[in-house]
């Protein structure tokens, strides 16, 4: 262990990368699954070890190939990305057993090993974005995760999956281009790609060329906003989530957007925020307004969706709005709320998409009109859906309440009492779109089309129940969610200029 420990940051990325290469050589879906499962279950162990080390001993800096920064690539783990590493790897580990049956049903046999290869590449990319301390390296990982994501979406059986994937490819490429232009500006201004180094040098650049710094900030913001689906740059998301294979949706909704949000926070609070007072720029107001638009418009669209996966996708756009609202508030309670919602939303949305994946596995559709009485036939699955749905609403006793509590408190502390009302008002729209599904699922007589349905096999059921239970657990025990998020927010806010 002692020999391995110093290399944990790089192992977090190298293991899934090697796994992906190996999976690419496999033919049978089952062997691909076994490999992906082994890698996915190893990842949280490394992530938790890193987070514990960081929480007690401060940030870890790992020099790739022994080249010291700023010349070499640095992997840098602090409480912020340690937190995200644990989240992403845990979602992968919990979700993996679910994929077995789901992928076996939804994909052609010859595509299955390939799918697991893409999944491992995507995991590599996401963990890489999180762990790296290098702006350009983050771009590389962003592209690795995006390219593998396009494939994972395109493998959906529904032919519309191809178009959605293509749409995402175009939008994602534009986003990546914007990001790399932003990084190019930064490189011109500071001569460095190392994030810590950049943050130290940006102050001087700000003094001499403020408009160039703002341009860099703007390019990075737009590029990342496309990838994290900040309203109105979200248009790729609903179709991609709706027509992708069930497991793709589960994994992406819980991790991909969250990691990009992390990167945005990284840029705002530890790179730009250290040398310039971005809270004085109109950018925070812009983010708050766009977040509110997401919370209301996307929620309202969700109310009228007939396909439950699409409905949940629009709900994701709205819930991302809550997270970015926390970034825009940029105060202690608000940022805590945003950060904690990254975790809380990931867990509950994974539970929701998984239950819909299970429903699709059993009845082959997720259209609301076909799901009358499904609760009677698949009680455990739909009970989990119900609990996680309450989480989306933010009912007290669920983790969603904790997120909204902090966000509302942040708004109140900022003196924006009207924002408190808007936050709770958008929860009310969630009542409508979640309630619609619950009423159809529980209060209608089962239709003959679903007469044969029953709860899915344990490999699917256990992850669903675990994630739904987590939604309740983190509604009461918040030491590892809001507690850590609060510490991180304190450090981030404290480091701001």
């Amino acid at each position: 262990m002692t020999a391995v420990q110093p290399h944990l940051p790089v192992l977090q990325v190298v293991i899934p990368l090697l796994g992906a290469l190996l999976a690419g050589l496999l033919r049978r879906g089952t062997s691909g699954f076994a490999l992906a499962l082994a890698v996915s279950w190893l990842m949280p162990l490394i992530a938790v070890a890193l987070l514990c080390q960081v929480l007690t001993g401060g940030p870890i800096s790992y020099h790739l190939g022994g080249w010291p920064p700023p010349w070499g690539i640095e992997y840098r783990v602090d409480a912020l990305n340690g937190f995200v590493l644990v989240l992403v790897s845990t979602i992968g580990a919990v979700g993996m057993p679910f994929s077995y049956r789901s992928v076996a049903l939804e994909l052609e046999p010859r595509q299955q090993a390939w799918f697991y290869c893409m999944y491992l590449l995507c995991l590599t990319g996401l963990l890489g974005i999180t762990v790296t301390g290098d702006a350009f390296n983050a771009f590389v990982f962003l592209e690795i995760s995006s390219l593998s994501t396009y494939v994972m979406i395109a493998l959906g059986r529904d032919r519309r999956a191809l178009l959605s994937s293509y749409q995402y490819l175009i939008m994602g490429t534009i986003g990546a281009t914007f990001y790399i232009i932003g990084v190019g500006f930064i490189y011109l201004l500071t001569g460095s790609l190392n994030m810590v180094d950049i943050s130290a040098r940006l102050g001087a650049a700000w003094a001499s060329q403020p408009s160039a710094v703002i341009a860099a900030l703007a390019f990075v913001t737009v590029g990342l906003s496309l990838k994290l689906a900040l309203f109105p740059l979200h248009v790729w998301l609903p179709n991609a989530y709706a027509y992708a294979p069930s497991f793709t949706t589960v994994f992406l909704s819980a991790t991909a957007t969250k990691v990009t949000i992390y990167l945005l926070i990284r840029y705002y609070f530890t790179i730009f925020g250290v040398s310039i007072d971005f809270r004085a720029l109109p950018i925070t107001e812009v983010i708050v307004v766009l977040s509110l638009a997401a919370m209301f418009i996307a929620s309202l669209v969700a109310v009228f969706e007939q396909n439950v996966k699409r409905m949940l996708a629009y709900s994701s756009v709205a819930q991302i709005g809550y997270i970015t609202l926390g970034i825009g508030l940029a105060d202690q309670a608000g940022l805590t709320g945003g950060l904690v919602h990254i975790v809380n939303h990931a867990l509950m949305k994974a539970a929701l998409f998984m239950s819909m994946g299970a429903v699709f596995y059993r009845v082959g559709t997720v259209n609301l009109k076909d799901l009358a009485g499904i609760g009677r036939k698949m009680p455990i699955t739909m009970a989990a859906f119900t609990v996680a749905g309450f989480g989306l609403i933010g009912t007290p006793g669920t983790s969603g309440f904790i997120s909204k509590w902090y966000l509302a408190l942040g708004a109140f502390e900022r003196g924006w009492w009207w924002l408190v009302f808007l936050i709770v008002a958008s929860s009310l729209i969630a009542v409508v779109y979640v309630g619609r599904v619950l009423e159809v699922a529980w209060r209608r007589e089962p239709s003959p089309a679903i007469a044969e349905a029953s709860d899915p096999p344990l490999t699917m059921l256990v992850p669903i129940v675990l994630l739904a239970a987590a939604t309740v657990y983190f509604g009461f025990f918040t030491e590892w969610t809001a507690g850590v998020a609060g510490t991180v927010a304190k450090t981030l806010i404290g480091g701001l200029k």
Binding site: T395, G397, V420, V431
Partner: protein, 488 residues
């Protein structure tokens, strides 16, 4: 047993019952036994808490600290003690009654009915014992969600529509108004604990206090203060035992109980009377009392009439809270108990009439008194209690509220109370009058006899309770005094 353990048991017992009931899905007799045993155990536990509370103890238990300073915690104080006693003792009567009603009507999905009932009762007890606003809010929402399946029990389109209105109004007001008020309270006072004397003293201006009070009063939709009352008549589509225990006792009383508790322990009587932030509420509550009574007069559907009567009677409790004097709050607390006994009797009777005759409209009741003497006699007793005529429990609450209004110089309010009692006579006694003195519409009443024993016994007992409450009011006063006179 230590009082702390008893609190935990009181909250867990109904929830455990809810878990056990489905196990006996196929054996209705055993299933109903579980409900009755659970209800009996709960009452026993709650009664055992009474001693320590009367002796001045305030046992409390903290389950978990959710956020620093904000915990899931329970603490028994006199008002909660009174409310939990009312709810748990009436649950026993109501469970017996449910057996008669649900079987008499051959209702479907009885297992889920009893499960939701138990969860609702667990939430009610939790709400009664909540130590802080967060815990109370949690139980409040749990109560809304657990009663929604009961409201839509019939699964007709009308029931679904009513269910949507129920959920949207109760969840909507609580999320849009109640929750922001809680957040504001936390931001201003730094705590959400119910504290004698209030937590907002000196923390906010009179205007802010007034706005907060409005957010609370309208945000607590369960209190059915107009115009937030529409869910209550809509909820009458539920089976009558639900209307009886939940929409005459547990749910609506949870609402007004919350209002009283917030006035007493969050604002504090002194804060309200010195800032004058409560004046508008006195007039609003008075207006509700009259308006709801007038609407009740116009309703021919028996349950709708009773529902509007409930809206009016709940406004009495809010009025007591709004007057914000020691005596008016005593009146409010007593009204919670006496109206519960009176109104549950009336609903029991309405359900018994439905089981026996399938009649729902007041105009169909002519001449039924002879055929169903116990039911209509009980209805008479319940009505007299609600009107406030001695020797029935309801007398005391009306008396104290009137005294408190006179004391604080609100003579208009005294007038409102008197007019309201007259209106009560109009819309309640007219029903009894029709049943006993008018000839049956179709000449003779044939083939109609009393509802099953399981229906008639509970309604006779609850009618009796209205009388007992008149003579035993000292006991309630002694209990409530503990909340009102404890060192501020």
């Amino acid at each position: 047993m230590a009082p702390e353990t008893l609190i935990t048991l009181a909250i867990l017992t109904p929830l455990v019952g809810a878990l056990v009931i489905p196990l006996f899905h196929d054996r209705p007799n055993l299933r109903e036994t579980v409900t009755l045993v659970t209800a009996g155990t709960l009452l026993l536990i709650v009664v055992n808490l009474l001693g320590p509370v009367l002796a001045g103890g305030r046992p409390e238990v903290t389950f978990v600290e959710v956020v620093p300073g904000l915990s899931l915690a329970f603490k028994v104080e006199p008002l909660g003690m009174l409310f939990s006693l009312v709810a748990s003792s009436l649950w026993i009567l109501n469970s017996i009654y449910s057996i008669g009603y649900m079987r008499g009507n051959k209702e479907p999905r009885q297992t889920s009915f009893y499960v939701c009932f138990a969860v609702a009762l667990g939430s009610t007890i939790g709400l009664a014992f909540a130590k802080n606003l967060f815990t109370l809010f949690l139980c409040y929402e749990a109560l809304t969600l657990s009663t929604y399946p009961l409201v839509t029990h019939k699964a007709t389109d009308e029931a679904h529509r009513a269910g949507r209105l129920y959920l949207l109004l109760l969840l909507g007001t609580s999320l849009l108004l109640f929750l922001p008020a809680i957040i504001a309270t936390w931001a201003l006072a730094g705590t959400l604990d119910f504290t004698p004397g209030g937590i907002l003293g000196g923390k906010a201006s009179g205007l802010v206090i007034g706005v907060l009070l409005a957010l609370y009063v309208f945000g607590i939709g369960k209190a059915a203060v107009m115009p937030m009352h529409f869910w209550l008549p809509a909820a009458m589509v539920a089976p009558t035992p639900v209307s009886a225990l939940l929409h005459a006792v547990a749910v609506v009383k949870a609402g007004v109980f919350t209002v009283v508790k917030i006035v007493l322990y969050v604002f504090g009587l002194d804060v309200l009377s010195t800032t004058g932030a409560n004046t508008w509420l006195i007039y609003l509550a008075s207006g509700c009392i009259l308006l709801a009574s007038l609407i009740a007069l116009s309703k021919d559907n028996l349950k709708a009439r009773l529902a509007y009567s409930t809206v009016s009677q709940l406004a009495y409790v809010v009025l007591g809270a709004a007057l914000a004097t020691t005596m008016s709050l005593e009146g409010s607390a007593i009204q919670i108990a006496t109206h519960a006994a009176g109104k549950i009797t009336l609903f029991f009777c309405a359900g018994a009439i439905y089981v026996a005759t399938h009649r729902t409209e007041v105009s169909q009741l002519d001449g039924l008194g002879r055929a169903m003497p116990f039911t209509f006699f009980a209805f008479l007793l319940g009505s007299l209690s609600i009107i406030g005529i001695p020797p029935f429990g309801g007398t005391w609450s009306k008396w104290m509220l009137a005294l408190a209004a006179a004391d604080s110089g609100h003579l208009v309010v005294v007038g409102v109370l008197m007019v309201s009692s007259l209106l009560n006579v109009g819309y309640l006694l007219s029903i009894v009058g029709r049943a006993f003195f008018l000839p049956p519409r179709d000449g003779v009443v044939t083939g109609i006899k009393e509802a099953p024993v399981a229906c008639v016994v509970p309604l006779s007992l609850s009618a009796l309770a209205c009388v007992v409450l008149f003579f035993q009011i000292d006991a309630i006063q002694a209990l409530v005094a503990g909340a009102l006179t404890s060192p501020q």
